[in-house]
């Protein structure tokens, strides 16, 4: 058997194992070790175990993962994110589709704190969707708004997915965070523009609400949520001006969220324990995939699969655009059953060498990859975010209805994606402006 055949069979068997519910990290790791053993010898495979896990620990970039996870869990479990939807509602209610716009805004804020798309969708579905349905919003619009806005989670920094991408692409986490900022806001604005236009053209989608909030109520709402945006701007500002590293930013963010919660009297031993537990478990589960991916990266390099694919693509005269299209198709398919972090880590060992051989900007490419991962979260037949919302709402709304609403958002995402691909400046403007 040639090395290439071993490489491709290994990939196939790994995917099969993942489909059979084997932990993603285990499926990648075990098959890759076997593959390395076949291509070289068993000593090399054992040697990989000696070299890989421990060296990853020594990698400073990875230390940012537990710190940002902790910041996110602290913010949510001490209630800093509570009231977000209510506050945005107070400000946006009177616009056409105001509650939907409020959901997009609240999701964007929530997403920047928690950094996970699925968690954002899950949290918002329990509060924003019932409120919209109560005001007789179209079911498809209400649910799809939350499903799609949830996807802002990984694009708006800080984001765990970006740290992991940076780890593998060997790019700066800080630059990647900054690069995601404008595309994240742009995605949200395009969603909002679509909602306003649709509701203007078809007012029955979202009944207008006449409640007028007084100035006092607005001030109270702003007072309720101000710590979160301020915290995020401090964390991101510090990274932007290179005042501190991402890991330091995460640690500062987590500590400050505890201090803020203390003064708001919402810091309990229970909430601290809970967020610590969630963080270590989250870190451990990500780390197992990372180890698997590192084995896979070595296995792929040895087998020559990425070079083979790169030569194939280049010989067709295809450039970065067709590669992005290929990645999009791949994510649409694999995104049906693998969640974003797993999907990213599963595919990077093949995609990154390709991107490198085409000479594309890895920061820009990273943001495109994140956006593609996000779109895969809401595309039928199995968009993970859609299922999360369906799970939260039960029989209240059918899957079909949600997907019907989601198509509009996918269309908007495609527009955003095209803009990002055609105008790399949108992505690269902030990172190029950064200090240092």
């Amino acid at each position: 058997m040639s090395d290439i055949v071993i490489g491709f069979s290994g990939l196939g068997i790994s995917l099969l194992l993942i489909a059979m519910r084997v932990h993603i990290g285990v499926a990648l790791g075990s098959i890759s070790l076997l593959g390395i053993g076949l291509i070289l010898n068993s000593k090399a495979a054992w040697g990989m175990i000696t070299a890989t896990p421990f060296n990853f620990i020594g990698n400073w970039t990875f230390t940012a993962v537990p710190m940002f996870l902790l910041m996110g869990f602290m913010c949510t479990s001490t209630g800093l994110t509570r009231g977000l939807f209510h506050a945005t509602q107070v400000f946006f209610t009177r616009l056409p589709g105001g509650l939907a716009i409020a959901s997009v805004g609240a999701s964007a804020l929530f997403a920047s704190a928690c950094g996970s798309s699925v968690a954002t969708a899950s949290a918002m579905s329990r509060i924003a969707v019932p409120e919209m349905l109560r005001h007789k919003y179209d079911k498809g619009l209400a649910t799809a708004t939350v499903a799609a806005s949830g996807t802002l989670g990984s694009l708006i920094p800080p984001s765990i997915i970006m740290i992991l991408y940076a780890l593998y692409a060997d790019t700066s986490v800080g630059k990647l965070f900054m690069a995601g900022f404008i595309p994240g806001i742009l995605s949200a604005l395009i969603y909002i523009a679509m909602i306003v236009t649709r509701v203007k053209l078809k007012p029955e989608l979202a009944a207008s609400i006449d409640t007028i909030y007084s100035k006092e109520e607005k001030i109270k709402a702003a007072k309720d949520i101000w710590p979160l945006p301020v915290l995020m701007f401090m964390v991101l500002g510090g990274i932007f001006f290179s005042v501190f590293t991402p890991t330091e930013a995460g640690a500062i963010g987590a500590t400050l969220s505890m201090i803020i919660a203390f003064f708001r009297k919402s810091l309990t031993l229970e909430s601290v324990k809970k967020s610590l537990g969630q963080t270590v478990r989250g870190t451990a589960s990500i780390f197992i995939i990372i180890i698997g991916t590192s084995f896979l990266a070595r296995f792929m390099a040895l087998s020559g699969v990425p070079q083979f694919l790169a030569e194939g693509i280049l010989s067709f005269g295809a450039g970065p655009y067709s590669m992005i299209f290929g990645v999009a198709l791949l994510y649409l398919f694999l995104g049906m059953f693998v969640e974003p972090i797993g999907l990213l880590l599963l595919t990077l060992p093949i995609i990154l060498p390709l991107a490198n051989s085409l000479g594309v900007d890895l920061i820009w490419f990273g943001i495109i990859i994140v956006k593609l991962l996000e779109i895969a979260l809401i595309t039928p037949p199995v968009g993970l975010n859609v299922y999360v919302i369906k799970g939260a709402l039960g029989e209240l709304v059918s899957l079909n209805t949600i997907f019907k609403g989601v198509y509009w958002f996918i269309l908007m995402d495609v527009i955003t994606l095209l803009l990002l691909v055609i105008f790399p400046e949108i992505t690269l403007f902030l990172p190029n402006l950064m200090w240092k």
Binding site: R21, V22, N59, T81, R82, E248, R281, T283, A284
Partner: protein, 170 residues
């Protein structure tokens, strides 16, 4: 069973404590850097070589017990329960072998590192051999947790899934 639960919970709690210390250590390092222009010495090495091994490897077992390792069950859920159960046992056995292998090799490495008192080159001598031990400890805890879950699955004759704890996020 009780003893295993205690052991796994203890290692998870220990990692929580270290995570908290890590957060404060980095926070004070940055604060001292700005306030007094004197950062805490060797923060970088201590964080990556000591704290991180606690945070990453000790919770492995607990994560398995509560089914929070990342897996995809969209496809297996389409099958009848009996088959789902078989998939689950099959997947668990593969994990078990994998983690026993990782544990075995990293154990040998830890012994070797201990014998030569492995250090990491910094501005000063920094011993890394103690952290090497956390790899086999973590991987073997994971293996124990997998066996625990398999036994539980056989006792209840059911596939166990992760419980969602997203309810009170907002």
């Amino acid at each position: 069973m009780k003893f295993i639960e205690k052991l796994i919970n203890f290692s998870a709690h220990l990692s929580c404590v270290v995570l908290m210390i890590m957060m404060l250590h980095v926070f004070f390092d940055v604060s001292f850097k700005f306030l007094f222009n004197s950062p805490i010495i060797a923060t970088l090495s201590i964080v990556s070589y000591y704290y991180m091994v606690f945070v990453v490897f000790l919770p492995l077992g607990k994560t398995e017990i509560v089914h929070e390792h990342v897996y995809a069950d969209v496809i297996t859920r389409l099958f009848p329960e009996k088959l789902q159960f078989m998939f689950y046992i099959f997947a668990s056995l593969i994990s078990l072998i994998y983690f026993l292998c990782l544990g075995y090799q990293t154990f040998l490495d830890a012994v070797r590192a201990y014998q030569v008192s492995e250090t990491y080159m910094a501005n000063f001598v920094f011993y890394v051999w103690p952290s090497r031990w956390f790899l086999p400890i973590g991987f073997f805890t994971m293996a124990i947790a997998i066996i625990y879950n398999i036994k539980k699955a056989f006792l209840t004759k059911k596939v166990l899934y992760q419980k969602s704890d997203m309810e009170d996020l907002i």
